[in-house]
């Protein structure tokens, strides 16, 4: 096995006790007192309000807008339309890389999805802009909307971010022929919308130096580059402030059309402009999870081993851009079938372009795969956990690579023990509680790839012995302000209160994107390496100076700990950072660090986090109402920087699993293509009463290969496994296999 280049200098070590501490959020007080500034809290002098008018049809063109009526309304300053807008340097429909999505920036009068922006009214007050947008009273030429998954199918060129649409390993058809039993089923998942608590918002101000923006972003450097291209300006002249996000879930990963419209509006009127999406406007131009129809065929031999696993996913993208939910890819890594084939097909519909939504593909595919595995287990007369263990993948099934680490067996064992799984009856509809409710238990396997992107950080040690770490990282609520600061403190060999952690603005080193559950690993490694580099500089100063007690220790190296460097070979000889810098006459020293995935390690190992989720549901036997009475997940995701925050991440994911299985769906009018439940009263997500009991167990896992810190991601894995576990528990409770999600009570009362 190849050695991974150690990113920490072997000569110099750092000891710290910050990593692993269950600290509460350092920004918690700011948030609960309302002092944390979110984008829409900013009000620069002279600021105007912009409100979007959005399309009331799914497909066609805007024949007319009553601009005069809007302009005549008191307080309205200007109305931005396709005929009246700042010139852009780039066509919003141009696309030069797979991470660049087409935007609707009033480039013409075409309507290609409901709630597409068709004009922007700019006014002295929010109320005037709102009324101005109403007064535009658009008249449309309407074409028939294309909706649903029954349109003309095609094989997309790639799924997710450039994954091949079809993957095949072994002979699936032969595997199915050889099987003692074949389980075949079709599962459907609906369109879902991110619905971050904080809607997309922007306050944009053009200054002499360039452009200043307050906007929530999961990727400031990418946003800078996109905006720079659109406006023909240098990226470094764009200053983005995004210290806090009220949730992102992928919908703030790339700058969205409405945010750019805010910048255009500011340019048009020559004053700062604020544009905040209304809740219903989040159901259109800022991405969503595409619907799927997934067909699974599982062959099993007499002993319950998978002979074949065939997973086909039909999904939808917009009429004008490409994002294909990689749902079938969920079957690549979990179960050791002799033959595995996955394939995708797609149709085009008149919706906004679907995008990354927490566990894109993994969540959608997982509920179908875990349901099908459950069906196959029952067909084999096996306990569904025993069936999963029987088909446990010792190496990654298709690639044949060893796993960099995989504590999934421990997850199954610890989760099952905590849940009490061993007493589960095999037959469905065989358990009732004392009040007469049907009780069902289900299990699902969770997995998510351990990804890393690229990032940079800058570390500084100052004359007073304190440190500073700078990185333009993103806190979506997951706790980056805290977890990354913990890594920074250990990276600098300092206590947390001696480190000034700077983050959340675009003038700091590029931290990449907070997505793919990779931010802690990626930004964390850049921080770790920057710390190593600055400690190395400090050590050079000391070990090369005969006045230092560390003089001559250059070959042995030093240990940085609590603000002092110690000789590795004689820990009693040490010197404080402040003393080293004072003698050198330096106010501070600084150094940069970088992070990226190690291609050699990636080539050699399959890297994934894993987990096992156990669900208990209760179902009213007459009325069909469902409640998830217990949800217990056990997850192994490498090194845990902050168990308190990680547990919260797992809870959030698991609760989303409840939502996926039981609640969430966009209701789309079958004629107009319009979403009829674009608000949080009718677009249901779980409320507290739906989550009476959730537990997350953190299973120890040491991974020497993913990165020097051993970090895998935890942001998305919680949805996977959970949704399937709940669906399986509903079947176990009722004997009714629901394959159309979310599961509604009407599916359980025997009238459907």
């Amino acid at each position: 096995m190849p050695e991974i280049t150690l990113s920490q200098s072997a000569r110099h070590q750092r000891h710290g006790s910050n990593i692993g501490q269950p600290l509460t959020r350092r920004d918690g007080v700011l948030k609960v007192t309302g002092a944390a500034p979110y984008a829409a809290d900013h009000h620069p002098t002279g600021m105007l309000y912009a409100v979007m008018a959005v399309a009331g049809i799914a497909r066609g063109r805007v024949a007319s807008l009553d601009v005069a009526a809007a302009k005549a309304h008191p307080g309205v300053v200007d109305v931005m339309t396709p005929a009246h807008k700042p010139k852009l340097a780039m066509d919003p429909d141009e696309k030069s890389n797979p991470f660049m999505f087409r935007l609707d920036l009033l480039q013409n009068d075409k309507v290609r999805y409901p709630r597409q922006p068709i004009a922007v009214v700019i006014a002295e007050t929010l109320e005037a802009a709102t009324e101005g947008a109403t007064l535009l009273a658009p008249v449309y030429e309407t074409q028939t909307a294309r909706i649903g998954l029954d349109g003309e199918r095609f094989v997309p060129p790639g799924v997710g971010v450039g994954n091949p649409p079809a993957v095949s390993h072994g002979d699936v058809e032969q595997g199915l022929k050889d099987a003692a039993k074949v389980t075949e089923a079709v599962y459907e998942t609906p369109s879902q919308y991110h619905n971050a608590m904080e809607p997309h918002a922007i306050v944009a101000e053009w200054t002499e130096a360039g452009l200043v923006i307050d906007t929530p972003s999961q990727g400031m450097a990418m946003a800078q580059a996109r905006i720079a291209g659109l406006f023909g300006i240098a990226p470094e002249t764009i200053h983005i402030r995004s210290p806090f996000l009220g949730g992102g879930f992928g919908s703030k990963g790339l700058v969205a059309g409405p945010q750019v419209l805010g910048i255009m509006a500011a340019k048009l009127v020559g004053r700062p402009v604020k544009l905040v999406l209304r809740r219903e406007q989040m159901y259109g131009p800022v991405g969503h999870r595409a619907p799927t129809r997934q067909t699974l065929r599982l062959g099993t031999d007499a002993g319950g081993r998978l002979t074949a696993l065939d997973h086909h996913a039909l999904t939808a993208s917009s009429s004008f851009d490409d994002f294909f939910e990689p749902a079938a890819d969920a079957s690549h890594t979990l179960y050791a079938a002799k033959a595995i084939a996955t394939a995708h097909e797609a149709v085009r519909t008149d919706t906004g372009t679907p995008l990354f939504m927490r566990a894109p593909g993994e969540a959608t595919g997982s509920i179908a795969l875990e349901s099908a595995i459950d069906e196959a287990a029952f067909a084999c007369g096996m306990d569904p956990l025993a069936f999963r263990l029987k088909n446990y993948a010792e190496v990654e099934p298709i690639s044949g690579k060893p796993f960099s680490s995989k504590a999934l067996r421990e997850c199954y064992a610890q989760g099952a023990e905590r849940f009490g799984w061993s007493t589960r009856p095999l037959a469905p509809r065989s358990k009732r509680d004392e009040a007469g409710f049907l009780v069902g238990w289900g299990v699902g396997t969770a997995t998510f790839p351990a990804l890393m992107f690229q990032a940079q950080a800058r570390a500084i040690i100052r004359a007073d012995g304190s440190g500073r770490m700078e990185i333009g990282a993103h806190d979506m609520g997951q706790g980056a302000w805290t977890a990354l600061a913990q890594i920074a403190a250990d990276g600098l060999g300092l206590d947390l209160d001696k480190v000034d952690f700077a983050s959340g603005t675009s003038d700091l080193p590029d931290a990449g994107i907070a997505g793919g559950s990779a931010h802690t690993a990626t930004a964390g490694m850049a921080i770790h390496n920057a710390g190593a580099a600055v400690i190395a500089k400090l050590a050079d100063l000391a070990t090369g100076d005969e006045r230092s007690p560390l003089f001559g220790a250059g070959n042995q190296g030093v240990i940085a700990r609590e603000g002092r460097l110690h000789r590795r070979d004689d820990a009693s000889r040490s010197e404080a950072y402040a003393d080293i810098l004072a003698r050198a006459g330096l106010q501070q020293i600084e150094a940069g660090g970088k992070a990226a995935a190690d291609p050699a390690a990636q080539e050699s190992y399959a890297m994934h986090a894993h987990g096992a989720v156990f669900a208990e549901v209760k179902v009213d036997p007459d009325l069909g109402q469902i409640r998830v009475s217990r949800l217990i997940g056990a997850f192994a995701a490498g090194r845990i920087i902050n168990p308190h925050l990680v547990r919260s991440q797992y809870y959030g994911g698991m609760i989303w699993g409840i939502s996926f299985a039981l609640h969430e769906k966009a209701i789309i009018d079958r004629r107009s293509g319009r979403i009829m439940n674009g608000d949080l009263a009718e677009y249901h997500v779980p409320v507290n009463a739906d989550v009476p009991h959730v537990e997350a167990i953190l299973v120890d896992e040491h991974d020497p290969h993913v990165n020097a810190l051993g970090i895998k991601g935890v942001g998305e894995i919680g949805i996977t496994g959970s949704a399937g576990a709940i669906a399986n528990a509903v079947w176990h409770a009722t004997g009714i296999r629901c394959r159309r999600f979310p599961i509604g009570l009407e599916q359980l009362i025997g009238t459907a």
Partner: protein, 352 residues
């Protein structure tokens, strides 16, 4: 937003006078009206705020044992009034099963009665809706209508009335006191809301300027206190409108049903009183079989208005469940999950 006048009258008389002009509407807590104004469904020229009117915020026990509730009493205040909850436990339970704690703290008794339907096509100004724009058509009829009416609907409107509170009120013969241009009058709550017919734009029988000032519960209604229940089926455990709901109240004597009150919610444009089913049960023994027969009668005229046939069966079943629970006796305390089928689940948490 559209510019409008805001008036805060000092008396009921002033309030009635202030709504003389067209485009004037009463504003109570605004938990529904302000939303409707934000989405452009309601565009009033004048809001007459009645929340500060003197004397409308009292809960009074009448000499005969009935109750009179001022129209501006907040839902939460009424639900937690001990004397009221003891006399009419299913009304309190219905109130506590509605909306969220924050909304219940704001919403008023009078406003609850006059809330508009939750039909998505009514809220969506791009859709055709006879209730919003008379004569424009009904996009719900061939649309996404799994939650729509199964009783009393017409081809011009299949919307339902979403109130929980009104369901037990209809069952208990509550009376609505109305102040209008010609003085004060009483309307039986069951007669307040209209079925759509050809004029779905008229939700109620109220005339312009009519102001609800109080709701009265007759003394006779308190006779059901020991055997009554409101149950509400939802797509999530709390903070959701009913799929269907039922209020059932029994007065038992010598092992038989002496009197019974039944009403269904979210099945029609009004809370649906089930008088024929009541008649069937009077004198019968309180058995599950009798309750099933009553539920059959109650839903005999029901027919789907779209993709909602399941609501008919659910309405039957929830009526049977509510009757069974009423027969078993009103719980000593309102459950932690009010009106939920899971309210009997041991260990249920008070998170509703």
């Amino acid at each position: 937003m559209k510019i409008f006048d805001y008036i805060r009258p000092a008396s009921v008389t002033e309030a009635v006078a202030a709504t003389a002009q067209t485009g004037a509407v009463y504003l109570a807590a605004g938990t529904n009206l302000l939303d409707l104004m934000k989405v452009g469904v309601a565009r009033p020229d004048r809001l007459v705020d009645v929340t500060h009117l003197p004397g409308l915020d009292r809960i009074e026990r009448l000499p005969d044992g009935g109750f009179r509730i001022g129209a501006m009493v907040r839902n939460a205040t009424l639900a937690y009034d001990t004397g009221f909850a003891e006399a009419f436990p299913m009304v309190s339970e219905a109130l506590l099963s509605g909306a969220s704690a924050q909304l219940r703290n704001a919403a008023t008794v009078g406003g609850n009665l006059l809330q508009r339907t939750r039909c998505a096509y009514f809220y969506d100004v791009e859709s055709a809706c006879n209730k919003r724009v008379p004569g424009s058509g009904c996009d719900a009829l061939q649309g996404e209508n799994s939650g729509h009416a199964v009783l009393g609907w017409s081809p011009s409107c299949i919307a339902t009335h979403p109130s929980d509170f009104c369901v037990p009120l209809a069952a208990l013969d509550a009376i609505v006191e109305v102040e209008g241009r010609d003085g004060r009058r009483d309307i039986l709550l069951d007669a307040l809301h209209r079925l759509p017919g050809e004029h779905p734009e008229r939700d109620t029988v109220l005339e312009p300027s009519d102001l609800i000032v109080a709701v009265r519960l007759p003394a006779a209604a308190a006779a059901f206190a020991s055997h009554s229940r409101y149950l509400k089926l939802r797509e999530r455990t709390s903070y959701a409108f009913a799929v269907v709901s039922a209020a059932a109240a029994l007065h038992l004597g010598a092992g038989r049903i002496a009197q019974v009150r039944l009403a269904l919610g979210s099945v029609a444009a009004k809370p649906w009183r089930c008088r024929e089913a009541e008649a069937l049960l009077v004198g019968a023994e309180p058995t599950p079989e009798a309750f099933k027969r009553a539920a059959e009668i109650a839903l005999a005229e029901a027919k789907p208005s779209g993709h909602n046939a399941h609501k008919i069966e659910l309405a039957r079943r929830i009526l049977v469940r509510a009757l069974n629970e009423a027969a078993a006796g009103t719980p000593a305390q309102i459950a932690a999950l009010p009106a939920s089928p899971f309210s009997t689940m041991p260990g249920a948490l008070a998170h509703a």
